[in-house]
């Protein structure tokens, strides 16, 4: 999605969600920041459906909106101790996420899986092959074939 439209939609979504916080919460957010979000929202037609019976984390809102709410909380609401706690959480979450991605897309792991599978298959196949002993005539035939092919 075009970046401008994306941020417009996120800003509009966030503004609508913020309306469901009490005045005390909203008054802590700087008016300049709200003004910026208001201005960005103008380019968006997004409508948020809030379920009044659900908590914020269970609402059907975008990941971008959740990130923006987190930014707002960190910048305007959180105490210093909370800020440290939040940064730590973000970094831990990021690490876990990166680890998960690494596990999922690790090159070695991708091929490792495939190789093991093939080896097993070969073993199975090998175990089914009958080992025949060659007769003398067969050995001579093979020798002569070799000579003629190399010419």
């Amino acid at each position: 999605m075009n970046n401008q439209l994306e941020i417009s939609n996120i800003a509009a979504e966030t503004m609508q969600v913020l309306r469901y916080f009490d005045r005390n919460f909203r008054s802590k957010i700087s008016s300049d920041f709200l003004k910026l979000l208001e201005e960005l929202s103008e380019g968006s037609n997004i409508v948020v459906k809030i379920d009044k019976n659900k908590e914020l984390k269970d609402q059907n809102i975008s990941e971008g909106c959740k990130d923006l709410i987190a930014i707002i909380y960190y910048r305007f609401i959180a105490t210093e101790d909370e800020k440290r706690e939040i940064i730590k959480a973000w970094n831990n979450n990021e690490m876990s996420y990166q680890n998960m991605l690494r596990e999922k897309y690790n090159v070695d792991n991708i091929f490792k899986d495939k190789t093991d599978k093939n080896t097993d298959k070969q073993k199975i196949e090998n175990s089914l092959v009958e080992i025949k002993k060659d007769s003398l005539i067969e050995k001579i035939k093979r020798f002569l074939n070799k000579i003629f092919r190399s010419k």
Binding site: F21, K57, K66, D67, I71, I77, I87
Partner: protein, 363 residues
Amino acid sequence: MDEQEQNFKKLKDFFKKDMNMKNLLMSLAPKEIDDYDEESRMKYMDALYNGLTHFEEEFRSIAESFGLGEEVLNAISKYFEKSRNAFYDKGMINLAYQQIFSNMDESLIEEIKDQFVGYTDYGNLLEIIGQTKSINELLHAFHSYITNNKAIMQAMPLIATKMNEFGYPISIYGEQTELARKIFLDFPVDMDVGWTDIVSMEKKMLMMVRDRGHALTIEIDKEEAGAVFKYFIPKLCNRDMIEKLPGINKITENGATGIFEASEEEISEKLFGFIGKVPMDSDIVFDWEKITSQITMQNEEKTKQEEKQAIFEENQAKEISIERKTSGIKKIQEMLQKAKNFIKSRFTNEKGDYDNEQSIGDK
């Protein structure tokens, strides 16, 4: 006859019809003899019914004359059809006369005052006709529409114009009469008024004065020994001043009306003395206490509404915050910064508190 003269004739004809209809209305009022017996009652009802037909013809003629359009003509027809249908339901002759001919509903009068104001372009005659129930109300509607209509007044033949000291023209249209001449020449140029239009007819004058009470209108009827002045002030500006005006008889939120008279010698003195006392916007006195308490009440009401709507708590925002990861946060921050820079580039010297801040998430 040129267009302006034709317009002037239409206006004079209107006032003639207006007068005739008022006289007919009064003559149709029931007398004791009309209720004497069955025959007299039938005769009276017939007279009322015929009166309806006559009124319809007059109103249609006025509407056509002023080019008010098909919709207004249809509304008039509809009104009279309704009146005829209701006619035989009324039964008693007093009731028939009152309800179909003479009643004046206060709320409709207020609506008319609100709609037909001088020097404004709003005013829906069609809507008002739809609301009228009696001939008297219909007549009042047409009268207000025409006498408060700047466009109609200014479409008359111009006799003379002069500028006042405040840069506004005082103009007189219509017929040159002694009264017109006197009023125009005596009109003080040092009196603080806006645009003023005066239409002069043989025994009547209409005056519309801007900036006094927003758009003061005065109807002047020449009598044998003087004149009678009927006025309408659409905007009160200062109630105390309005209450002290000569001949004031009704004040509501939609304006004030009154009537006074003057002898021949007193006409100019009383007329301009009156105009000079009508309050202007500069006479408005703000009741700051009332305004402040109204604003406080509105804010309190708004706060209550907002509190009702508040369903998310601060700790829920914290809960969401702790679940996020640095890459997502950085992405949104960068998008915000780019958007902010873009907005800033459209305006110069704009500062916001987002400037010079480190990115969140940096150790």
